[in-house]
Amino acid sequence: MKKNLIWRVLGMLAIIYLIGGVLYAGNLALQGI
């Protein structure tokens, strides 16, 4: 169960990273860069 938990935590961090990246790209697009 512990191994499963570590994978789920890494998965959540990856999702947070990707969402942050999408917002960052959106922000750059809005600024017309």
């Binding site: 938990l5 789920r8 960052y24 790209a25 017309g32």
Partner: protein, 748 residues
Amino acid sequence: MTKRTKRQKVHIILTAAFLIAALAFSIFRFEMVFGRIVQAVVDLGNSIAFYCLYPFYMEDLVTVTVTEFPPTMETLLPLTFAEFKAFFARFKDLLFDFGTWKAYTLMILDKLGRFAEVVSPFLIPALAVFLVLFIKYLLVNKPKKKKEGEEEPPAPKYPDELLEDSAALEWYKRNVEKRVERPIAREVRAYVEFFAAQRWYVKWAFILVWAYNFNVLTIAIEGLAWIFYVAMSTEYGTFFLQVAKLVCDLAVPFSFFPWWAEAIIYFKIFDMLRRHIGKKRLLKRIEKDDEFLDKHPGALLIFGKQRSKKTSLLVTLKMIFERRFRKKAFEKFKLRDKQFPYFPWWHVEQIVKRCRDVQFKTLDDMAIFALSVKAAVEETNKRKFEFRRVLLRQYYGFNVDYVVAYAKQYNMTYDNGVYEISVWEALERYTQLYCIYSHPTPLDISTVSIREDFTFKDHGYFPIFDGNPFRGTQDSRKYSQYGHRMKFDIFRPGETFNEGTRFEEAVEYGIGVCPEFAKERKNKNTRGTQQDINGRVNQNNDLFDLDTKLRGQIATIDFFDFWVWLFDDQRADSLNAENKDLTTGVLIKERSDAQIVMPGYAIEQLLGIVFGKMRDVIKYGIRNRKRKKETLLVHLLDKLYIPFFRHCDRIENFYSVYTLKVKTTDEMDGEVLGERETLYIPNAFTYNNRFATDSYRDFYRRKYRQADRTLNKIKQFGGLYPTGGEYEEMQSFLVADLNHWYQDKKAG
């Protein structure tokens, strides 16, 4: 008017001060909101005028301002569809460009670096403090050695006499908790209670002022203005402009809150979403259990090893059946209502409620009722009709005039495309089905007590059944009811324990639940040596098995069988073939650990485990070595950790589901119906104080009350090799046999 206490006066002054502060914010901090709200009201006025004039082709008389971007605001967002397309093209290119992701990752690393810079001046001293505490508490603190000639202190009479709290904790409790923490908590709670008890206009004053401050009023008015405009002009392209204005308006409240308050708000929104998804998943799992019951109608025999959740599954299925039967009854009488829509069904429902258990004891009584109404309505002789009408009114409370009026205007039969249904048949069935639907107590009769917490939303008209499986703790206690107690004599056409029972008590529909069923009925081998209980009745002559076969027929109402038996035991073969053949066997092959179905919980779970371990090591390490009641470090640690623990524990308990893999067989011919089907037991549904696994404990406790010694006092072995005497005391068959074969012939 009652005299106000000093505290109440303080509270009133405080409330007035908060209101003045809020207004001060409106004037000095949120002064830009005034301009926006004036604009919004002007926009709304113009839009409403446009809405009223557009059907008469007079819309040119008014200038619509909601489609204009205010000159005082600036934004980078796209304002038209063309601009949006350009933005989206740029966004797509940037998203799939490696340079963007590289810059993004470098930005994150840079932020982490700056965070580390801020934290590290505190980190080294914190590590030093931690090491000192570690050495002090865990390595150095050993029990004092007894000095020469020193006497032992006298043994205390009670175990807690020589212990005190540590000095630091005593200081903390006296000076901080008593003088600071508790008074503040008390005052805050008192003020919150005071505010909650205020009248509506006080609360609404605050809501309105802060809605104004946070631009919420502006957004609402602008939204209405746009709706009025777009309803007539259908220019949906102006949507982008509205989104841009919304984002600019929302910047006002977001610039007010500090970053940590925003983080809490975002987390709360995220928490609401994930709890919503979690609840949906729990309901979906119960639906899947329901589908399993659809696939396997008839009696169910659940078997499996000990501790494989047989009784939990039994209770879960029983609760699902409770809701199924009522839902099925509701669907069926709704159909009758559609067949004869203008019939006074509302009056029939009132009569069922009034006559339940008195005039309407059995299904037959309801059939007689329908026939009486039929006889009255079809009666041609005026005097006889009056007699029947008075009889119906006095005996049932039923006013037959409604049906007479119905018979004059509407159809008395209905052709459903296959055969013709008469209204009297519909009346009989409707009464019976409504009786089941609105049954006030649980529908089960069982040997184990199962707690239900359904309720009816009944305002005096049509009651809506509310079988919400995840009621909160307080509501669940409010609506608690237990199932009916089993009396097997009801199901015995043959010999009985008590002759009167099966004539006085009738069960025509419902759910029969019997765990450990094979111990009740036994099988051919174990029945053979059965002593007659009560001198007369035993499993062979009570004809229970005959009743099990026929019961489905008497419980069939409107072509649906409203009776089901639910059994469980450890071995299917322990049960007599006559009973077993009628059931669908459900063998529990696998039982999973509790799985949490709420998404997005992994990080908190990991933190809960890590912090929990740290806290346990520190707390029990200290308790092991320090002869004090409690210490300050542990006390403060718990103040921080326990609220987090409560949050995690409640989520884990509510959103846990046990998954069972079962193999279903048709016990009649052994055909395997499903090799590995899945069943779910939601923790919040089944382990909500529903049943007691140890409900037979009273019998054992009666036996053990006379015991002198329990496990701790029973003699232990002296060494690895038991002596002859130790063997003798085991009272074992093997030892007796060995003694017999190897006895000393000379001594014999």
